[in-house]
Subunit: 377 residues, 2 copies
């Protein structure tokens, strides 16, 4: 996944310290693949995955819409050239003054998952469109979602009815099948729930118009994942099955699926050591760890492919850890990582599939280390 | 733990958004309590706990030494007025060029835990003092350490012998009993290991001079913790027991114990909701979470006291979560947090004991949220 452009950049520029390099050509290809796989869905790029201005500008120019988590992200999307009607304020947890600010900026599409949030929006964003997030089980996802976002379908009916009563546009339903979702039937189960909400409200004379199918589209780490095309087919079949000939407007919110495989982190081996003379596992310490951008190694959730100059030679299991004085800064220990025996202190390694959820997760100055630098080429 | 000075500051300045306020008077008291409890030990403040320049300047002026994790932290301590001979480069994982840079700055005290690190230091910091970190079991600690730092005592002997052979000053042994350690016998067990290393090397004619007893001194969160005085007595008894009349020079490295109880985070309730009409647990969302500075709620490790304006009234269990679109941004769920039933959206809450390991852990821009602001008064 380290493209020739990324390899050339690293070879020519030789940046010191750990850094992320993102290849815009890959982002462009990913956007087109989503467009092709789901031609009837609008693409709302999840800005939080990687808000680099170059990425936002490219996607804005290609016609993408944007899913944002905060007023700052709304402003980033607008700065990149996206008009307000292509931006969704997708966080269900918003301060009332932030809703007001987004409304002033022209935003008219907001996520909710409870009546309390609906009431804030009704007060400061009159007439806005709202969609209610429904809880899903997250089965089949590598980074399963907690119950943090969404409510049960029965409550979503109450929430949207309340929105309508307060003069808002009860616009639709959203769900998220869990990040890095590889079970194609997950969308089918979630769409069945969405249809229930549509049907119940239609009986009351409230006609919803949109299903926001969220993200969850995986990037390839160590295991193969289905291609965008396979997702598109599975999702289209599920839509047809549940909504028949009255398929609503649909939205998807790829984040990881849009930029994950477009980025590679260059890192350096700081130390290789053992804890006792007879240990059979080496400890390999990199100059990036859990607090420097690889937060998604939490609980060893995401296992990134690591490329070394010694690949193909004999390997042995290693515990992989970061450079900070924090003993929690260990990335892979329960399942040690096989790395070449000839790996040496000072060697560079490439950590692939790191275009999403790395730069912004990085700690601001933990242990005095600067945040992860990023180059978008 | 919110001192009157902190409450006055918040009432007068009314900062918007989440922020940490640190009261230097508390830091001053803590430093004096450590001095009094362990009059024969040198205090090396662990800069990583909170590197605010005001804190470093206060401690430098009071005569504190500094434990640093990176060249950036070395420079911060020097900028605050600490001479190089009061600074230890305490990270066992260092790039060779960072060791060289620290040596150029005058640093002569370095931590190691393997021969590979000793060799780097011998190459670029000739004659420097090194101390070898020994693994401890971490039993009794609330935030137990992994095996990331240190080696078994037998290997520490090899490491220090190697250092001596390469012309370095084999200076001592360090250990860390685990953060927020409340079992006073933990130091006794670790000092027994340290003594073994001293004795073995003495037999070879290598006389170590120092024991670095690390940190682990707790701050008070929800449970009572022994006072500094009790730690001092337990540690002195253990030193006497293992080293008799030949007690070596000793160092302690308080971080959390120096600044934890000096800081309070002011936060705002963004949303209170349920996931289903019949749920008996409310979800309370604050404007700060795991990625905004409260990283130590990971695995619900540290349970901070939370003060509201409604304290004393009836409470009910809540799931406590942060404001980001990340479903992992949930602080307390396995053990819900009791909060007043009358708590309302928009209320301010104070999160106490947050002076350590918050500002620097904060993500640089996750979801577009700015890093935790901090005021030192």
């Amino acid at each position: 996944m380290a493209t020739q452009r990324i390899l050339d950049f690293l070879a020519t520029r030789r940046p010191t310290g750990p850094c992320l390099v993102v290849d815009l050509d890959v982002v462009r290809d990913n956007f087109r693949a989503f467009e092709k796989a789901l031609p009837d869905s609008k693409i709302y790029y999840a800005v939080k995955a990687n808000p680099a201005p170059e990425i936002l500008r490219l996607l804005a120019a290609m016609g993408s819409s944007f899913d944002t988590a905060s007023v700052a992200e709304v402003e980033m999307a607008m700065d990149a050239g996206a008009p307000a009607d292509r931006i969704s304020f997708g966080n269900t947890i918003k301060k009332e003054r932030d809703i007001a600010r987004a409304y002033q900026l022209g935003i008219r599409l907001f996520a909710v998952d409870c009546v309390e949030e609906v009431e804030k929006i009704a007060r400061v964003a009159p007439g806005a469109r709202v969609f209610c997030r429904v809880l899903t089980d997250g089965e089949g996802a590598e980074w399963p979602l907690s119950r943090k976002f969404g409510c049960v379908p029965a409550m979503a009916v109450d929430v949207l009815r309340h929105a309508k009563g307060l003069g808002l546009d009860a616009y639709g339903v959203s769900f998220h099948v869990g990040s890095q979702q590889t079970d194609l039937t997950a969308w089918d189960r979630a769409l069945a729930d969405a249809k229930t909400v549509f049907a119940t409200l239609t009986d009351e004379g409230i006609v919803l118009k949109m299903v926001n199918m969220g993200g969850g589209f995986p990037t390839r780490y160590l295991r193969d994942v289905p291609a965008a095309k396979a997702y598109g087919q599975a999702i289209f079949s599920a839509l047809r099955k549940h909504f028949g000939n009255a398929i609503p407007e649909t939205i998807i919110e790829p984040g990881r699926g849009m930029v994950g495989n477009a980025g590679v982190i260059k890192s350096e081996v700081v130390l290789i050591s053992k804890k006792a003379a007879n240990d059979n596992v080496r400890w390999v310490f990199l100059d990036i760890g859990k607090f420097g951008g690889l937060a998604e190694t939490m609980d060893e959730a995401i296992r990134y492919p690591i490329v070394t100059a010694h690949d193909g030679t004999e390997t042995a299991p290693c515990v992989l850890a970061g450079p900070t004085c924090d003993s929690a800064d260990v990335m892979y220990e329960k399942t040690p990582y096989p790395l070449p025996l000839s790996l040496t202190i000072g060697d560079e390694v490439l950590i692939e599939g790191t275009g999403a959820y790395t730069t912004t997760y990085s700690a601001v100055a933990f242990n005095g280390f600067e945040p992860l630098r990023s180059y978008v080429i």
